[in-house]
Symmetry: C2
Subunit: 165 residues, 2 copies
DNA sequence: TATTGTTATACTCTATAACTATA
DNA sequence: TATAGTTATAGAGTATAACAATA
């Protein structure tokens, strides 16, 4: 196979891989969203926010939540407002910076999250359950490299892509 | 490690794997959506619909587009309407079934898609470019098994999950 | 001036359900 | 009755930008 043909084959393989990655994620994500709504009357971003707080018992600032959830600040405010209204999380003032808050789970929030997390774990184990521990480790490792690369994607301008040497 | 501990470890591995899969997909998907908007003033579902038609030169019926794009029919109608208005796709009547249409790319649609597909290929190759052909094949194969499993997820009721023997 | 967080707004994306026309 | 497609609507999810308060 000459260089050009190999490049073409690699490109096709990358595209196939991307479509399959997208399909897998959509299948699992859709199942999780539906189940969260039907069984717990909540949404994925709400679950995600609570999951972040569960892992950070000392609490997280709004901008840190925003970064970890990969969404902009306004959205975090809205979700936090909802959860505060339901007594699942609390805003605590921060010593020495009157602009900021630490958001924490309440006791009720921890209990609620524990229920959801148990069910969630079941759905995820179902989705990946056919894989051996070794297969899961392989996938995790390879996707780790994708994650590194993808987080540095530079969006080539269409024009310059066509003009590139 | 006893059975229970192994189960716990497997569950944790499945959860980690799911989070990484989700992160990878979100990173790439966000880059693609942004680039499609900025460089081609279009959206991912529009691109997806045109990609389906590119692979089916004879055209596809609305319900087949709906199935392949994994969205419900009303959405396909809306996207198709937009693309028809921009002369990128056409609805052709079907012999022998006056309810149905075959949707096809127009010449302008094929040209437009060719431009976008070239840029898209570049973005995807960037995202997965650090992987060898062998690594891509491994990922593709393992994700194929995830796809099979995930497409049959049964959403256990919260109550029954807790009561299960 | 820069940062933290909020508010207001608009748009994409999707599902649901009622509907029309045809099979 | 069932199917193909459309319409109307509601809600999730997100980004942007202007804003207030504080650093």
């Amino acid at each position: 196979m000459d260089i050009e043909a190999r490049a073409h084959a690699d490109h096709a393989a990358a595209l196939r891989l991307w479509l399959r990655l997208l399909t897998c994620t959509q299948l699992v994500e859709r199942a999780v969203r539906t189940a969260l709504r039907e069984q717990f009357d909540t949404t994925l971003p709400r679950f995600d926010l609570m999951a972040q707080l569960e892992r950070a018992p000392q609490g997280l600032k709004m901008n840190e939540l925003s970064r970890r959830m990969m969404v902009t600040g306004g959205n975090v405010t809205g979700i936090t407002d909802q959860l505060v209204a339901e007594d699942l999380v609390e805003r605590h003032s921060v010593e020495g910076d009157r602009r900021a808050f630490l958001v924490r789970l309440t006791a009720a929030g921890r209990a609620s999250f524990a229920d959801m997390a148990q069910a969630h774990e079941g759905w995820i184990v179902q989705a990946f359950g056919d894989l051996s521990a070794k297969d899961m480790a392989t996938l995790h490792k390879l996707l780790g490299r994708v994650k590194e690369t993808a987080s540095t994607i530079e969006l080539t301008e269409a024009a310059s892509a066509l003009q590139a040497p």
